[in-house]
């Protein structure tokens, strides 16, 4: 049978605010257990939570960037359950009145563009962290230790419609969300450290069927690779069951990256009744049009807008505009480099291949080098003015990255400036012609490779400094 895959993603993005959602404790990570806690985030009797205004604005920013409607009258709800990482016995969240609804996002997989619906975005607090003593496995642990530093750290949960039709689309969507929250500066997007966590609701149905199949929720997707692999393996599992005449059980499954498999997490305890109700500690949150407009006006330029601007006013190709806008740091570097007069197209090529390539080899980030946009621009301008060849530029880039010296200085010190003096180049060309009588015969016999060899010899003898245009001109002249 022909199966259609149906996926919806729930992404938890940790808001990079200074303080927690409901109290003034430091929201940043620390390995020292229980040092960022207070009566509120440890759920002491009589405490009173108060909403962090910045989290509301961050949630509005994500909503506006994904074309959501912003709700005017917001409520917070208690989601009740008992677990030792949840000191109050409930999580403060939003239930039937999330701050953002009905948005959408465009993704592009191998040139095919699709619009993915965003059902809702809501604010909630994180739970604490448990370390199980005596075993890695919670079932074999003799007891557990709770660290509440993370308790009440602000999260935005971004829920997509079941619009994704493949693991690639799901990955592209997750990457797009990460890109947007990073551009907005509301979340650092670090998946390894858990600032961005992803759950996937997965089902399959026979192609053409309109009703949804029974879904499973796969958790623990901590990288884009894990999202893709987990979805593929879960889809395969579901199709196997259905093709053997079985039924899918609606359940939560845990993805194990080491074994590349999913495993049922809870069984009968999963019949959760969270007994949601409005949290009487928190007063309603009203968002008026003026506030929405203020946040909208302050939104930074988003990846999609940048991309279009680069294509329209900088004449970049769609491919170049795409690659240069993926990471916020790269795009900032790009914009600054061209502000110093470097040509946009060359700048994209140099950043994406030479600069990032060299940094990758060294295993460092753009921000960790001595290369500045100004230094890169100076290097590219030297190529543009024919002072040095692209090849020479590539050889001195590592030195600029290492030392932060400017290209002009290095070129002068090492005598690398391109030779465009006809007379000087002519001497070299003639010498090479004289020494390679056999090659000249080949060229006259019509072998194009022989010409390349000759040019290579000339460039080598000039230490890469001969202007290649003049070399070709002279060769044609002398051999005709």
């Amino acid at each position: 049978m022909n199966w259609e895959i149906v996926i919806g993603l729930e992404i938890h993005a940790q808001m990079s605010t200074k303080s927690k959602l409901m109290c003034n404790c430091d929201a940043s990570f620390t390995s020292e257990a229980n040092t960022h806690i207070c009566p509120i985030c440890t759920g002491q009797p009589g405490m009173l939570p108060v909403i962090n205004k910045q989290v509301v604005e961050s949630a509005m920013m994500i909503g506006l960037a994904t074309k959501c409607n912003i709700r005017k009258l917001n409520e917070f709800a208690r989601k009740n359950y008992f677990y030792p990482d949840l000191p109050k016995g409930y999580q403060i969240s939003q239930y039937d009145k999330p701050i953002c609804e009905n948005g959408s996002l465009e993704i592009d997989v191998n040139g095919v563009k699709r619009t993915i619906g965003i059902t809702r975005i809501h604010m909630e607090e994180d739970a604490g962290k448990l370390v199980h003593a005596g075993s890695d496995n919670i079932k074999d642990a003799s007891y557990s230790l709770a660290d509440l530093n993370r308790s009440s750290v602000p999260l935005c949960e971004i829920v997509s419609e079941p619009d994704l039709r493949s693991a690639e689309e799901a990955t592209a969507y997750a990457q797009k969300i990460r890109q947007i929250v990073r551009y907005l500066g509301v979340c650092d997007g670090n998946m390894e450290e858990g600032s961005l966590r992803c759950d996937a609701n997965i089902s399959v149905r026979p192609k053409g069927q309109t009703t949804l199949g029974t879904k499973t929720e796969v958790k623990n997707l901590n990288s884009f690779k894990a999202i893709e692999k987990a979805i593929n393996i879960e889809v395969e599992r579901q199709i196997d069951i259905l093709e053997e005449g079985g039924e899918i059980v609606q359940e939560t499954r845990h993805y194990n990256e080491a074994t590349n498999s999913t495993k049922s997490m809870r069984s009968k305890e999963d019949a959760h009744d969270y007994r949601y109700f409005p949290d009487p500690d928190l007063v309603p949150l009203l968002i008026d049009d003026a506030w929405i407009k203020k946040v909208q006006d302050a939104l930074p330029e988003l990846p999609e807008e940048k991309k279009n601007r680069y294509m329209n006013s900088l004449s970049l190709s769609e491919y170049d505009a795409n690659v240069i806008t993926v990471e916020k740091e790269t795009v900032a570097f790009f914009e600054e480099t061209i502000s110093f007069g470097a040509k946009p197209k060359d700048t994209v090529n140099w950043i994406m291949s030479e600069v990032l390539g060299t940094l990758n080899q060294k295993g460092i980030e753009l921000s960790q080098t001595k290369l500045t946009p100004k230094l890169l621009a100076e290097l590219l301008i030297l190529i543009d003015k024919n002072t040095i060849s692209g090849k020479i530029a590539k050889t001195i880039l590592p030195q600029i990255i290492e030392t932060g010296e400017n290209a002009e200085k290095i070129v002068a010190e090492k005598g690398l400036a391109q030779v465009s003096d006809q007379g000087e180049i002519k001497k070299i060309v003639e010498a090479v012609i004289n020494e390679n009588a056999k090659v000249i015969e080949d060229i006259k016999g019509g072998n194009p490779k022989a010409m390349g060899f000759l040019v290579g010899q000339i460039m080598k003898r000039s230490a890469g400094k001969a202007n290649p245009g003049i070399v070709n001109e002279l060769l044609n002249e002398l051999l005709s």
Partner: protein, 96 residues
């Protein structure tokens, strides 16, 4: 619906509280009284009144995003029955 002893026992277990038999009897009675009192709200006619989440006309109470370090963390840990490595020690969560 009424609150019976079994409900209180279950709640106590979930909340990790231990009650004596006498306490169990008295808490059951008190909780049931509270529950029945709250139940009297059901008698109020709310036709034509839109649902609300809050009783007092107050809205948009925020805190600014600034870090204020809490000074008495040891007191918070003292409230826990057991502490290990500056963590709240909790009994085994799942059994086989």
């Amino acid at each position: 619906m009424t609150i019976d002893k079994k409900t209180v026992e279950h709640l106590a277990k979930l909340s990790r509280l231990r009650f004596s038999d006498n306490e169990l009897v008295s808490f059951t009675k008190s909780l049931d009284d509270i529950f029945q009192y709250a139940n009297s709200l059901q008698k109020v006619n709310t036709d034509g009144i839109s649902p609300s989440a809050h009783a007092i006309p107050l809205q948009n109470v925020f805190k600014e995003d600034e870090v204020i370090t809490y000074k008495d963390i040891d007191k918070l840990l003292d409230n826990c029955a057991d502490v290990e490595n500056h963590c709240f020690k909790v009994p085994r969560i799942l059994t086989n």
